[in-house]
């Protein structure tokens, strides 16, 4: 197994009789941001935990930097920064004490004190006790802890969860900068706009199985927009009989559409029918999964 930063072959985890993941074959290339997507319970966190040797696979193999995740876990974890999805911290410690402890335990190898720069950038007051932090500030602590040793591989499980939009953008910038430095990022998220903003490729996992991997541009072309329009008078039923457009709901003066293509034609038709207001609705990634991979796709519904 080769030059891939992350490589798994037939990776399977069962908890007793409960399925974790099933035959996951995954390759993540050096220097790319790989989005790992899937509904809750699909197996994202299990996969990440196997990579970090928190959970041992039932069968199959996982390697990072060509090193076996179980046998050579200590060696490879020196080069990995991890932000868990369910972040739990030492509540009685001040943030700066936590970072010093983390630095101390990790042995920073040239990145000593980098956490201060990161904390400043995220506007995190490190003199306060972690237990007194809001969820967003705790998440900042986790983000700093993951980035603070300038790791070659970052495994980030929903890194922007709980953060305000400005800080979300800062975190995404940090991801982009890490990529620019030639580092690799394994990025799990539910937020399509984030994935679109930073990821080169995505892998979609459902029911423990890797359904597909594809480049983000390909995925974006399959994106679905949902639009709710309010008219002065309800337009005729056939106005939106346009290819790639599905009318989902029609009530009183409003019409809700799902638009996969031909958005300009939809807007033109709406304008001709005296539209008064328009609202776009972000479709969750899970819905896109179901739209694209649902019926007639091997019965792999989440």
């Amino acid at each position: 197994m080769s030059e891939h930063v992350i490589e798994t072959r037939g990776l399977t985890v069962y908890y007793g009789r409960h399925r974790g993941i099933l035959n996951v074959d995954l390759n993540v290339e050096k220097g790319e941001v790989f989005g790992f997507l899937g509904p809750n319970g699909a197996g994202k966190t299990t996969t990440q935990r196997v990579l970090l040797d928190v959970i041992r696979p039932t069968s199959g193999q996982a390697r990072i930097f060509g090193l076996d995740c179980r046998e050579q876990g200590v060696e490879l974890r020196q080069r990995v920064g991890y932000l868990p999805g369910e972040l739990a911290l030492y509540k009685n410690m001040k943030a700066n004490q936590f970072f010093k402890m983390y630095e101390y335990l990790r042995g920073q190898n040239g990145a000593k004190g980098y956490w201060q720069e990161l904390a400043k950038r995220l506007d995190l007051d490190t003199s306060r006790r972690i237990g007194n932090f809001s969820r967003g500030n705790k998440q900042k602590v986790g983000v700093v802890a993951a980035f603070m040793n300038r790791p070659d591989l970052l495994i980030l499980d929903e890194p922007t969860g709980g953060l305000d939009p400005l800080v979300q953008q800062t975190v995404l910038e940090m991801v982009r900068e890490a990529k620019a430095d030639g580092r690799t990022i394994f990025f799990s998220s539910h937020i399509l706009s984030e994935v679109q903003a930073v990821c080169d490729r995505v892998g979609i996992i459902r029911d423990g199985q890797l359904v597909t991997t594809q480049r983000v541009e390909e995925m974006v072309t399959q994106r679905v927009n949902r639009i709710n329009m309010i008219f002065a008078d309800l337009p005729p039923a056939d106005v939106f009989n346009i290819e790639g457009v599905t009318e989902l709901n029609r009530s009183d003066r409003s019409v809700m559409l799902e638009v996969q293509e031909n958005l300009p034609q939809v807007l033109a038709a709406a304008a001709e029918n005296n539209i008064q207001d328009i609202e776009t609705i972000n479709v969750s990634l899970e819905e896109i999964f179901l739209t694209y991979y649902g019926k007639g796709n091997g019965g792999n519904h989440a």
Binding site: Y14, Y15, G16, T58, S59, L105
Partner: protein, 272 residues
């Protein structure tokens, strides 16, 4: 591993201070009041209820054995259970352990650091209690008649530590083995309570005699003679042995366990 050990000790500093102060209650109260109750205690020496509880109160060494050498380690063992189960299963349940095991540290070092931190913490507690016992004893020595020396007393208190070590390591093993802290603590507490009462009752109930070797308190002699002459090396060896075997099992199961998912050691591979 020294870095990890240092952190584990830092986490325990409040517990060390609090428990040390709390355990000093025994010498500060029970040794200090002895001159005022000595005559009364001598009269209670033969009561069966005390004998059933493993207590003999006739002399000052008896009093020290029955109060200090029995109850102080019993209370200290509660710290052993809290620490042993909380430091592993507790951290696993609340998610903090995930942050530690994903650092570049081998698992055996993580659990060894926790075990050594417990050993150091509990030894500090016993040293504090032994020292306070010695000081209190010196302050009342002129008021009582006894052959016991300060050195005897200091050694007697310290030699109760192996019981605490055994309970702490047993709790650590249970925490490494069990999928939940509550379950581990429940078993450890049951072992402690059954050991205490089982040992005392075995002294007066022949039906329990065959089970006596199973009770941890069998290996802690709280008689006045033991206070004067020290614990038997064999008894200390058994308690230390139980602690070491428990630690070895804790390392074994912690190395094998799937962490963070509440899984038992045998809940691994069953692909259907």
């Amino acid at each position: 591993m020294l870095r990890l050990l240092w952190q584990e000790l830092l986490f325990r500093r409040n517990a060390i201070i609090g428990w040390s102060l709390g355990l000093c209650f025994f010498p500060l109260v029970y040794i200090a009041i002895y001159p005022s109750v000595a005559d009364e205690m001598a009269g209670l020496a033969d009561l069966e209820i005390y004998q059933a509880m493993g207590m003999s109160l006739g002399t000052f060494p008896d009093w020290v054995g029955s109060i200090l050498i029995i109850f102080m380690p019993l209370i200290a063992a509660i710290y052993g259970i809290i620490n042993g189960t909380g430091t592993l299963a507790g951290e696993e349940e609340d998610g903090r352990l995930e942050m530690v095991v994903t650092l570049p540290l081998p698992r055996w070092q993580i659990i060894t650091a926790k075990a050594i931190a417990f050993i150091i913490a509990s030894l500090i507690m016993f040293l504090v209690v032994s020292t306070v016992s010695l000081l209190v004893f010196q302050s009342i020595e002129s008021q009582i008649e006894t052959e016991l020396t300060g050195a005897n007393l200091f050694t007697a208190v310290m030699s109760a530590w192996p019981l605490d070590f055994a309970v702490g390591m047993l709790s650590l093993f249970l925490a490494a083995f069990c999928a939940s802290r509550r379950f581990a603590a429940m078993i450890a507490a049951a072992v402690l309570v059954i050991s205490y009462f089982g040992n005392n009752l075995a002294a007066s109930t022949t039906a329990l005699e065959p089970f006596e070797p199973l009770f941890l308190f069998t290996y802690l002699d709280a008689s006045g003679t033991a206070v004067m002459e020290g614990q038997e090396a064999g008894d200390i060896g058994v308690l230390v042995g139980i602690g070491l075997v428990s630690f070895a099992l804790a390392v074994f199961f912690f190395q094998r366990r799937n962490l963070t998912v509440g899984a038992w050691p045998w809940q691994r591979a069953h692909v259907s």
